[in-house]
């Protein structure tokens, strides 16, 4: 049943570009991409309950790495560079995780640690001229697929879709295995986990490594889709907020939460950005995000997806 539904959904998404206009295509690219980032965050932030508000740093590290490698004398294709970027992001994630978990930083202290690391990255990159300094890096458009660039928007659509499916597949796999089951228990009560023989430190580290690696991969897409990387945007707190808000509103620690969250928020954000942005009013979409976040915390603390599921099972019963 579930597999069939997932198959139908994927088939529809594969066929969709045939009927979408250019603008709708762009919106879908963003829906998939932010769902992907949300899914990657969800592994450590949702399932494991370690609230990282510094995930933008992994996007930044991944993006800068791939862009620098592509622009270097070796001209390494971003298709390979993205894995180097992911690996470096995982190294950073490993450092943050090691310090945070080893020193037992919880709740707000862990949030602050992740924010502080992201800010340190932002400031350092802003001040290194070799990385383009505060102005950042610009990528010239060649339209060469080898350079992760495509003349046809539909190619970006499929790459973003593939990323989202990849992260969802990883999360689905985790949910079914010991790894994922342990993570959900760590979120509930770490001491009880230890008493039952769960090596909590190791599993939190693994979750952080997987999450930061995947987020780092996404950095390459970000760089070569938008053709630019600016320290204030890729390492900034606002991007971290964009990353975490979708899975939280959709349902943190659920498989479909990040996707549902992105389906709701991305178009909403785009519409309000387009509508208010035209009249010179910026930030409207962030007001909407803020209000939604408050509403979800107050009324649907588990997120939209579990609430919807409950609604349907109740109707059926």
């Amino acid at each position: 049943m579930k597999v069939a539904a997932a198959g139908v959904a994927v088939a529809v998404l594969l066929a969709l570009p045939a009927v979408l206009n250019a603008y709708a295509l762009t919106v879908f690219v963003l829906i998939f991409f932010y769902a992907y980032l949300g899914q990657a965050w969800n592994i450590v932030g949702g399932y494991t309950g370690q609230l990282s508000v510094g995930h933008a740093a992994f996007v930044g590290v991944g993006g800068y790495t791939a862009a620098m490698l592509a622009a270097s004398d070796w001209a390494i294709t971003p298709w390979a560079g993205m894995f180097v970027g992911g690996a470096l992001a995982a190294v950073l994630g490993g450092i943050i995780g090691y310090l945070g978990f080893r020193f037992g930083l919880r709740g707000f202290y862990f949030v602050l640690l992740t924010v502080a690391f992201a800010e340190v990255c932002r400031i350092v990159v802003s001040n290194v001229d070799a990385l383009g300094g505060a102005l950042g890096l610009y990528i010239t458009f060649t339209g060469n697929p080898r350079q992760f660039q495509f003349q046809d928007q539909r190619a970006y659509y499929y790459v973003a879709l593939a990323l989202m499916l990849l992260a969802t597949g990883v999360a689905a796999l985790l949910e079914r295995r010991r790894f994922g089951i342990y993570l959900t228990a760590i979120r509930e009560d770490e001491a009880a986990c230890e008493a039952l023989g769960v090596p909590t430190f190791r599993y939190k580290m693994l979750a952080m490594l997987v999450s930061s690696f995947l987020t780092g991969l996404g950095g390459t897409f970000y760089a070569f889709y938008l053709f630019s990387l600016q320290p204030n945007t890729v390492f900034g707190i606002p991007l971290s907020v964009e990353i975490i808000i979708r899975p939280i509103i959709g349902g943190a620690g659920t498989l479909l939460g990040p996707i549902l969250g992105s389906l709701i928020l991305t178009p909403l954000g785009e519409v309000s950005r387009a509508y208010f942005g035209q009249s010179g009013l910026h930030g409207a979409h962030l007001v909407v995000y803020g209000v939604l976040l408050i509403a979800v915390v107050l009324f649907l603390p588990q997120g939209a997806y579990p609430a919807l599921r409950q609604l349907f099972t109740r109707k059926r019963a």
């Binding site: 709740g107 400031i123 009013l281 930030g283 007001v287 995000y289 915390v297």
Partner: protein
């Protein structure tokens, strides 16, 4: 500002991402009063404090009260939501350009012999000290102040002795917000500001409070001094844009080695 933050944190153990944005709202209120009403920010700051007090009580009563028993993470997210709304309504209302308020009362720099003193800074500093003293008096000498400290130490105990904890929290949150509002108005002639300033102000104030010790008033004050000294020293030796690096690195180190700050009670 750090005084406001530490008061709220000490009382509620509710972490407030919205603090910097409340301060920015204090600044913009001063800005509006100055440009539309011709009220000098050094006169207007009590008004800003009152407005923010109302906002703080409203946030506490309307939002935080509903989830005091929810997991800590939920409170962080709630405040993140409030911060987003505050920051971006400011953006909608005032636009992204930096704003600055000119004070007509205090403009002339003061020369003390060879020493040059920037008067607006001096006035701000003096008023901040007076406010801190007043707040300490309030917390340690008045009935409500004692109740606030009692509720911070042991909410259950405070409830048992019949204190209206909800009212106390609301008062504490409101007073914290008021301090931030006053601080915003007071620094508005010194610091150019724009809506995104809120986030970096919040981060700076976390630095100050954590370095100084969560929940300790004296600690927040000393933490504030330490952070500003560190940042100015950094600015002397490094590019100005790198000075924030100092406080963030300091924050990471202090987070790791002394989670309750230099003067706070150690969390066990």
């Amino acid at each position: 500002m750090a005084v406001g933050l530490t008061l709220i944190f000490g009382v509620m153990r509710v972490v407030n991402f919205a603090h910097g944005d409340m301060m920015v709202w204090g600044m913009y209120l001063a800005f509006v009063l100055a440009t539309r009403g011709g009220v000098d920010p050094y006169v207007a700051f009590p008004l800003c404090a009152m407005a923010l007090f109302v906002l703080g009580v409203a946030v506490q009563r309307g939002l935080v009260d509903r989830i005091v028993d929810a997991p800590h993470e939920m409170q962080i997210l709630l405040m993140l939501g409030v911060a987003l709304v505050l920051e971006n309504t400011a953006l909608l209302a005032f636009g992204p350009e930096p704003a600055r308020v000119r004070s007509r009362l205090v403009t002339e720099p003061l020369w003390l012999g060879p020493l040059f003193i920037d008067t607006p800074r001096l006035v701000t500093f003096v008023v901040a000290i007076v406010l801190t003293l007043a707040l300490s008096m309030f917390l340690f000498r008045t009935e409500l102040g004692r109740l606030i400290r009692a509720a911070a130490d042991n909410p259950y105990g405070a409830r048992v002795i019949g204190a209206d904890v909800g009212r106390i929290y609301a008062a504490a949150f409101g007073i914290g917000a008021a301090c931030v509002g006053a601080a915003g108005a007071l620094v508005s002639p010194i610091l150019p500001f724009q809506p995104p300033t809120g986030l970096s102000l919040s981060v700076t104030s976390f630095n100050i409070v954590i370095i100084g010790g969560m929940g300790s008033l004296l600690g927040a004050f000393i933490g504030g001094l330490l952070v500003s000294v560190a940042e100015s020293l950094g600015a002397v030796f490094l590019r100005p844009s790198l000075k924030e690096l100092f406080s963030f690195s300091l924050l990471i180190v202090i987070l790791l080695f002394r989670p309750a700050g230099l003067f706070g009670k150690r969390a066990s």
